[in-house]
């Protein structure tokens, strides 16, 4: 067993080529399953697809009408909020007002003029900066695992935003890319807003 003795306590680095273990690993052949596994996998994929389809087709006209009404109500509320705040402050115009009002209730808005929430760069950046500041101040109240998940999700959304921006540079009128960018920005704002709400309630 001389071969065995030459390995000391620090035997946790790469294996040497003349090591019997390295030789055994080198001879380790690849094998394939004894049966076809795909049918079992496919049945589990289809189950998920069926569930998804069922959910998709359960919307009725009346449900859609209710959803549309709700959307109109929310839009009206946002408009009302923006109008009231701008009337109250007569504030400075900075292009980020509507989204800030929508997301955080920031006090300033353009002098009486409603700016559509089109998620343009300036508006979006202002809203995000505001929410990120709040989150920085409050993040100590969140569970570290929640913070980790949050940061991962934010990074994924940021990546999506950057990809869409880069793609739009070469195809600025592409409706899909524009929609994708707006959607990613909306998701980022939603996530930040939920995170700040969670932090403000101490993660409850």
């Amino acid at each position: 067993m001389n071969e065995q003795r030459r390995f000391g306590e620090d035997d946790h680095g790469p294996l040497q080529p003349d090591d019997i273990l390295a030789q055994a690993i080198g001879q380790w052949r690849e094998e394939l399953p004894t049966r076809d596994l795909w049918s079992g996998i496919e049945s589990r994929l289809e189950a998920r697809a069926t569930t998804t389809r069922r959910v998709t087709f359960t919307f009725t006209i009346s449900q859609l009408a209710i959803a549309a009404s709700l959307l109109i109500a929310v839009a009206a509320g946002v408009t009302w909020l923006a109008t009231n705040r701008s009337a109250g402050t007569g504030g400075a115009a900075n292009g980020g007002e509507v989204i800030q009002a929508y997301t955080t209730g920031a006090p300033e808005a353009a002098g009486g003029q409603i700016v559509p929430a089109n998620f343009a760069d300036a508006q979006f950046n202002a809203a995000v900066t505001d929410l990120e500041r709040i989150l920085r101040e409050e993040r100590g109240r969140l569970d570290p695992r929640t913070v980790l998940i949050l940061e991962r999700n934010l990074k994924a959304i940021d990546d999506a935003i950057n990809e869409a921006r880069m793609a739009l540079e070469s195809d600025p009128a592409n409706p899909f890319l524009n929609s994708h960018l707006a959607d990613a920005r909306r998701r980022k704002l939603d996530l930040l807003r939920h995170a700040t709400e969670l932090a403000s309630t101490g993660g409850d």
């Binding site: 019997i20 596994l37 795909w38 996998i41 994924a156 999506a160």
Partner: protein, 183 residues
């Protein structure tokens, strides 16, 4: 495999996902076989691909798809062991005796790979995972520590002991075969 198949699968194309599965099956199946043993390998392989289908939307192309899938597979396999609990001790204790391997019919040709498969099956789950991840799959101790929820030091000591155990078993088998060859 064309990269497009991953994109199509992300959009819900199961035919494209089957091509992805066929292309990556050998690697994933053998990973499962080595980490969990031949009995559990097929079911685990199915679990890995079902999980991959569910998580495809999260694949953002920051690493190669093969790397992403491999990491996902390792996590699925480790999760399975956590779910099953610790019916056996997970790791080798200090000073634990070298495990005995069941004697096989001696042959002139020493098939080390068959012996290794039999030998690692006798290691505790945690020690086997450390050995396979480090020496076969090329993971670093810090990565293994994160995956298994242990310190890098534990990963190193487990690897050392697993190697000692496996070398002992292989050398014994080799000596038996050589003795038989001379007779």
């Amino acid at each position: 495999m064309p990269v497009d198949d991953v994109v199509l699968a992300t959009q819900g194309d199961t035919a494209a996902f089957e091509r992805v599965y066929r292309a990556h099956l050998p690697r994933i199946f053998n990973l499962a076989r080595r980490m969990a043993g031949p009995d559990a390998a097929e079911e685990l392989t199915q679990d890995v691909f079902v999980r991959a289908w569910q998580k495809l939307a999260l694949f953002r192309g920051e690493s190669s798809f093969a790397t992403w899938l491999h990491r996902l597979a390792v996590n699925v396999i480790i999760e399975r062991f956590r779910t099953l609990g610790t019916a056996r001790e997970r790791f080798l204790a200090d000073g634990e005796a070298v495990l005995e391997i069941a004697p096989a019919a001696p042959t002139r040709h020493v098939d080390l790979s068959m012996d290794l498969q039999a030998a690692i099956a006798q290691l505790p789950d945690g020690a086997r995972q450390v050995f396979v991840l480090h020496d076969v799959e090329g993971y670093k101790h810090e990565e293994i520590g994160n995956l298994l929820g242990v310190s890098p030091g534990t990963s190193k000591s487990q690897l050392h002991r697993a190697r000692q155990t496996l070398r002992g078993l292989l050398l014994k088998k080799k000596a038996l075969a050589e003795t038989d060859g001379r007779n």
